[in-house]
Amino acid sequence: MQRLLGIFLIIGFLFPLTWISESFAQENPAFDDSAGITIAPPTNVKAYDHPGDAGGAIVVEWDLSPQDHPENDLILGYEIFRAVYPDGEYESIGVASPGHTSYMDANAEDEHEYIYKVTATSGNGPSATAISNPAGSSPEWINFGMTNLFIIGLIICSSVIYFIMHAKKGGKLFLRKIGGLEAIDDAIGRATEMGRPILFIPGIHDMDDVQTIAGLTILNYIAKKVAEYDSRLHVPVCRSIVMTTARESIKEAYLSAGRPDAYSDDFVHYVTDEQFGYVAAVDGVMVREKPATCFYLGAFFAESLIMAETGNSIGAIQIAGTAMPAQLPFFVAACDYTLIGEELFAASAYLSGEPKQLGSLKGQDVGKVIAMAAIGVGVLVETIYVISGSSAIGNLSSFIKNLFVLG
């Protein structure tokens, strides 16, 4: 009997305790039952217009919940809610990982003001919330966070303009010889001797890619030589605007070579915009026409190796040039000469001799000198800082590195 009474007493004592505990956890989600502690919300939530943009973005910042430590994994993240100020309904707009103290709302509308609340999420649900000040977004004319970019860009652009003016006045601008360029004349001569055509592929990008423009500038030089040697040129393209520009370029080359009568629009023809459809057609042209020389100058993707290998299999001399890092290995492996990256643009300037292109290249060389100097000084200061541990050197090191970080 006493034992039965004891059991009833225990049940009678435990049941209300369990019920209280559950009720408390449901009413107050900040109570983490598993850990037995209360999850404190993030504090000091602030919202402000994202600076230096075209509007439409508000930054929300907060101080971490006191329980947000990497070692305890208590906080799973922060959920951000937004409401139109003053009487809109809150809706969840995103989450931030633990340890993060900011979130950018990139979907704000400039005509509204918003109010934000942030909750810390634990295994048992969200904490209490902290509410921000009302904030709105607006566009700014100037992004001061990019002042360093502006200054460096200004220096380089000024150099470019200076060298262009210098070249226009007849000043000589030295450019070193670029390997592969001399081979262009030999390759055209070889095709002429063999009585076979020359194939030129300007890449698969449109005229908005500077590589295509550089490729077509070199095409102009090649077309001039082809006109002089009375050889044959074949340019299949996969972009309509490239077709128009290539025709324009070749026509001008034939005109300047004194052979406008020999020009034909048929030198350039559109195939298809589809990448591998274009490759299939070009490969077909290669094995049927057996060009003696193949030029691949422009922007290339996965088709580079397919075309270069086919050209190699028919015994053509191949000269390639692209600034696509992923495709350069294939051209290097399968072609006789490859213009690597900026060499393509340099070749374009070198061959055309145009003041604008030459000046641009020289201006970029000024940029490279600045880059090398910055790396030299930065590495020296950073190394001294690591050896000495001096805070003054550390500040100087941070200053140098921040010169290349945009705000």
Binding site: M207, I213, T244, V271, A280, D365
Partner: protein, 225 residues
């Protein structure tokens, strides 16, 4: 995917074999597949460009579609002007339309030179827009990442590789003496990078080939699990 000798699988398999047959030599089946591929893709791109660009971005935005059809589309710039008396920003698309139309002057020999204007617009605008993004990602971010203390072999390799690479692409001086030596080191770095990239990409191409073989032997012929 449906397996077995279905019509679509059989056509796809024959076209796959036709394209692969180019490895043997140029042959009538390859020519057929090539012509089919070029023709279908050129037609597809024409239709795709019309429905994805010209129609929604020009005709619908300006309100021309709404003017001539009863399609249930949001009012365009013309409708806004008529109904609300307001000149909507969408009218700016008219400039793009005019520039596009100017490209067609190529077809008129005496006016062909006008087609250079839209080309100049495309090239100029793209250069301006890309300047900041390219300069940021290709120059400033790289510089920032190269400023490292010379306290480990990895950091030394990164710094030397970057500086020598820059020297190689410096065109204002002959590659002789110290410059020549540094440029040669730069080329070595480039070639090692290309080698690694080559191997990586060849492996990914192999997976594409395996995918096509898997289609032929497994999906079409049903020879493997």
């Amino acid at each position: 995917m449906e397996t077995g000798f279905t019509l679509s699988n059989t056509i796809a398999a024959i076209l796959t074999i036709g394209i692969i047959s180019f490895l043997w030599k140029d042959n009538p089946l390859y020519k057929l597949c090539e012509s089919l591929f070029v023709g279908v893709s050129a037609g597809y791109w024409f239709v795709s460009l019309y429905y994805q660009n010209l129609l929604p971005k020009l005709f619908d935005t300006l309100g021309l579609t709404q003017l001539f059809t009863s399609a249930d589309i949001e009012p365009g710039a013309i409708q806004i002007l008529i109904n609300e008396g307001r000149v909507d920003n969408s009218f700016l698309y008219l400039i793009a339309g005019i520039l596009g139309a100017l490209m067609l002057t190529r077809l008129i020999p005496n006016l062909g030179w006008i087609s250079r204007w839209p080309l100049a617009f495309i090239v100029g605008t793209t250069s301006g827009l890309y300047f900041t993004t390219y300069f940021q990602s290709n120059a400033m971010a790289q510089l920032r990442s190269t400023i490292l203390p010379l306290d480990s072999i990895g950091n030394v390799v990164i710094v030397i590789g970057t500086v020598c690479g820059l020297v190689y692409f410096y065109f204002s001086k002959e590659h002789k003496g110290v410059m020549g030596g540094a440029a040669r080191v730069g080329v070595w770095f480039l070639m090692i990078t290309f080698g690694a990239s080559f191997g990586y990409t060849v492996m990914s191409r192999m997976s594409l080939l395996i995918g096509r073989f898997d289609f032929i032997f497994s999906t079409w012929l049903g020879l493997t699990g």
